[in-house]
Symmetry: C2
Subunit: 238 residues, 2 copies
């Protein structure tokens, strides 16, 4: 008599049927950069429970879509933007994280150019940009999500040129440095930063200058899309 008995098809089907089923949601931590500050986008919840509390933007994963697609859909609906930089952050699955019913949430972090945001939507969805150091108390485990997203952004940005996702097409090196310093919570030597960043071949200097911050003015740069793509190929992976 065999010690291990293979289940039959019926056993197999039963195994599926007997398993609990859960709601699956996505939540997006959306980063933007404006006015020399790193910010994230929050929405004021218009539903019970936790009505009028701030939360991340999220939604349920529909029957015909992957979690990735759900996250893109939510972002499109709440920011008007498509094709934004989006990356899996973590999965949040504490059995009681949602008081109504067990819901697993797939957390994504998104980087957007804050100036492309459709400001009309701010009103529609009671949304607001919060400086990263002034995040209020959020619902459920959303504060934990934000904390993990910050860590991931910092780590990621040290290896991949993703910060450009948050900058406009034309940007200056001091601007890039400020964003970098915000993300990494540090200060850098301006000379060394400038040289390092230009030596990568990732940037193309334009003729125009931004004179809003100094008399000399800082040259505008744009991304070298070609080498940007190549460095992504080198580093991609995750």
């Amino acid at each position: 008599m065999p010690i291990f008995v293979f289940p039959t098809i019926c056993d197999y089907m039963k195994e599926y049927v007997n398993q609990p089923h859960y709601l699956v949601a996505v939540d997006c931590i959306v980063f933007g950069f404006d006015d020399g500050q790193l910010k994230i986008l929050l929405v004021k919840r218009g539903l019970e429970p936790e009505i009028n509390k701030w939360s991340l933007m999220g939604g349920f994963v529909g029957a015909e879509e992957t979690p990735d697609e759900a996250a893109n859909r939510v972002l499109k609906k709440l920011t008007g933007l498509e094709g934004v930089y989006l990356e899996l952050l973590n999965i949040y699955g504490e059995p009681d994280r949602d008081p109504i019913e067990r819901t697993l949430s797939v957390g994504y972090f998104a980087l957007i150019d804050i100036h492309k945001y459709e400001t009309q939507l701010i009103d529609n969805y009671h949304a607001e940009w919060f400086p990263i150091n002034e995040i209020p108390k959020l619902i459920f485990d959303h504060n934990r999500m934000v904390a993990e997203a910050r860590k991931k952004l910092k780590f990621k940005a040290s290896l991949h040129p993703i910060l450009f996702e948050m900058l406009p097409k034309k940007f200056t090196i001091p601007q890039l440095q400020t964003l970098f310093e915000q993300v990494n919570d540090t200060k850098m030597d301006t000379g060394n930063f400038s040289r390092k960043v230009t030596s990568t071949g990732l940037l193309i200097r334009l003729e125009e200058k931004d004179k809003s911050n100094s008399k000399k003015g800082a040259y505008y740069f744009k991304l070298n899309k070609k080498s940007y793509a190549e460095s992504f190929n080198d580093l991609l992976s995750l």
Copy 2:
């Protein structure tokens, strides 16, 4: 008349109820190192559909556990090991990835010391270690999971000292180098590798030597747990 009408509590509850519910599973890509080869652990499926096909080890997320806990449970059951190195890989949520019923799978990759594996379980679960370059056709999207896990391991190992998770307590530098080369699919200068790895302060040299591969013999080393922990604190994040 307001343009945007807040849903009532009833709307809110209905929103939950109307949403589809899914099965949620975990799948583990288990790496080990033996005989100079990087390997992964596969099980022969004893159930329809896809009976007798090779697959990753997995299971459903139970009602009282997080996906992390489910992955640990599955690993404990199928390897006998607890507290193994385990990290989220990705979430796999194509609506039709499982032909029986929609199932979202949370992929984890695990690193274990292959010699601690309870070999009895190999028989119980029809499991087998496969060299990384000889992985057979797997069920569902499991080959994709393996490919992504390899990429992640390579990337991860370039930043974190995680390879030690796959080595025994006592190991030699040539051993470590072979593992490193397998993971990165490359060759390194032995001298430079040795110096670099010892200069980190991560290793403590023992008196004993391994003379199985050379007449001179290679010193055994063990991990400096203290600086190992510290470097983890520095780099953690993900």
